[in-house]
Subunit: 336 residues, 2 copies
């Protein structure tokens, strides 16, 4: 067995208490020579300076500074940067690929809680749980709830998935266990692939008109900005539910707010545009909106799963095995 490669942890220090368990520390120490027990926020940190010539592996996380030419010049022996978070675009720069530094992402692990939250939101929305809970607080008495919400229930509902992304596919996969009809829109997915996932391929306008719940899982790109615009919101059925655990920019929020204020549709919204809504936004208070503050992604204990994945990748690297979550230069346009 070869000598253990020297590793440095580079991420915002505040993360550490949540992210790193004793089991993680023991595992990392079994795989690598840990140069500093605690993370450094950047290479200028006095605890980092003595190790820059030595370090071969970076365990990176939220807050890792850009690994550009200048940064990489300071770590001449760097062989890999293993990321314990979803988004690599903030710290990974083309210089990493130019110099053959291997890069991995924990986006797969980060997708899991988003898919779980989304499915829970869809089930609860179809049961009118969010609405019934608010109405029950107001009336504090008996109602024939099935009369208040005649179409209450998950059975036989149509759920439209916009975007067969990693998360979109996980949502489709988890919804197979339910008696719902699944539609999927994705311009890069062919009909056979869609059926293979367990969903009926569908054009976007058609999906909006047929779904009881529309759940967004498209990437946020210039081309997808406001893909759910006023016209398309107007295609949604009365009483249908828009679920957005992806990105606020996918939806024209002025039009969305108008539709929700009118009460014509419902929404479960975890991501908004802007990211923090103005304090006077009606979305905070509407009975037909379940608004959460961007918590669907990895939070608290869920961040540990991303570290598990990064350690899995470090272990494969150390053993000379193929990496499973590597980000390559050719993937760049598709990764978050």
């Amino acid at each position: 067995m070869s000598e253990k490669p020297p590793v440095l942890l580079v991420y915002a220090e505040g993360l550490n208490r949540q992210l790193v368990t004793d089991a993680h520390r023991a595992r990392l120490a079994g795989l690598c020579r840990v140069l500093e027990p605690e993370p450094v926020p950047n290479f200028d940190d006095p605890r980092a300076l003595p190790h820059l010539d030595t370090v071969e592996i970076l365990l990176t996380g939220w807050g890792c500074p850009p690994l550009d030419e200048a940064a990489l010049d300071r770590v001449p022996n760097l062989r890999g940067a293993f990321h314990a978070a979803g988004t690599v675009k903030n710290h990974v720069k083309p210089a990493c690929f130019d110099r053959g530094v291997r890069i991995t992402s924990a986006a797969y692990a980060n997708a899991i809680p988003v898919a779980e939250f989304t499915v829970a939101a869809i089930v609860m929305a179809n049961k009118k749980g969010f609405r019934a809970q608010r109405l029950y607080r107001e009336v504090k008495g008996f109602r024939l709830w099935s009369k208040e919400y005649p179409e209450i229930g998950n059975h036989g509902k149509t759920v439209g998935i916009v975007g067969a992304s990693r998360i979109g596919r996980m949502v489709i996969d988890r919804l197979q266990a339910f008696d719902v009809d699944l539609l999927v829109y994705d311009p890069y997915l062919d009909a056979a692939e869609a059926r293979g996932l367990g969903a009926e391929p569908c054009e976007l306008d058609d999906l909006l008109g047929r779904s009881d719940v529309v759940s967004l899982h498209a990437p946020s790109l210039p081309a997808t900005r406001h893909m759910i615009d006023r016209r398309r919101l107007g295609l949604m059925n009365d009483g249908a539910v828009l679920v957005n655990t992806a990105r606020g920019a996918l939806v024209d929020h002025e039009a969305l707010t108008d539709e929700l204020v009118s009460g014509r549709i419902e929404a479960v919204i975890d991501t908004t545009e802007p990211e923090l809504l103005p304090a006077d936004s009606p979305l905070y208070d509407l009975d037909n909106v379940f608004l959460t503050p961007h918590i669907a992604g990895s939070q608290g204990t869920e961040t540990r799963r991303m570290l598990d994945l990064a350690l899995d990748e470090i272990e494969r690297f150390v053993r000379g095995e193929p990496l499973q979550h590597e980000v390559r230069r050719e993937d760049w346009d598709r990764v978050a």
Copy 2:
């Protein structure tokens, strides 16, 4: 092929629009001779009277009157009563078994939405979605949510299932897809069976002390009344969540209200004692309570699944095949 057996529909008329689709009507007409197209509420209904001597099969539902000696005397050719709802105890009487009338229950179909709702509630509670949503409405601004709720997240949580009932088992089964540790308490389940379900067997007091979420799925019986009493609520961890989609009588609500008012624990409550809480109950308004008005069970579209099951059983009966959801005299103490 034998002649189609004559069938009568017996249940509360208001149900019909939600319950029965055109496809159901067509299917029933394919299996049986439908004596009256619409349901009758009881045997005294003028539409029922001409058919009592003829009818062989009852398709029953909520509101079906008791099938006791007197009632069965009026339908001398009755061979089976197929129930499109969960609870058979209101209409099925010992006389049914005495006379060899076959009985089926749609409790299996009714368990599905309860399990689905419960899993959604557990996932959302672990994500602190219910709480974050309310706090976000109040502050209408930025918070570091993972700091507000350090243990936010589903990963690595311990979920304790009280009662390996049909619904309890469905919840355990559905939670296998999540990275949670499962405990189960059931006095009638042995350790090997528990492990076979995918959960660690556990005494009730121990389960309460170890779980992040405790979900109740025990039957409501004299022996289980207030099984979650003040002492046992006190065993729950600070910040743990009690989920009750079973029956209010399982929990001492005075003690529960005290614990929830203190803010020490959280709850997702779909069933209460009394069933309709008094208007001055603090449970309506607490931030740490997600209170819904007994909607976890079959509602709206979900009632159709129970009719599907009843029609499946009628089809088996007509074909002379074994029934899959038959209620026998010897099952009586175990069924709802």
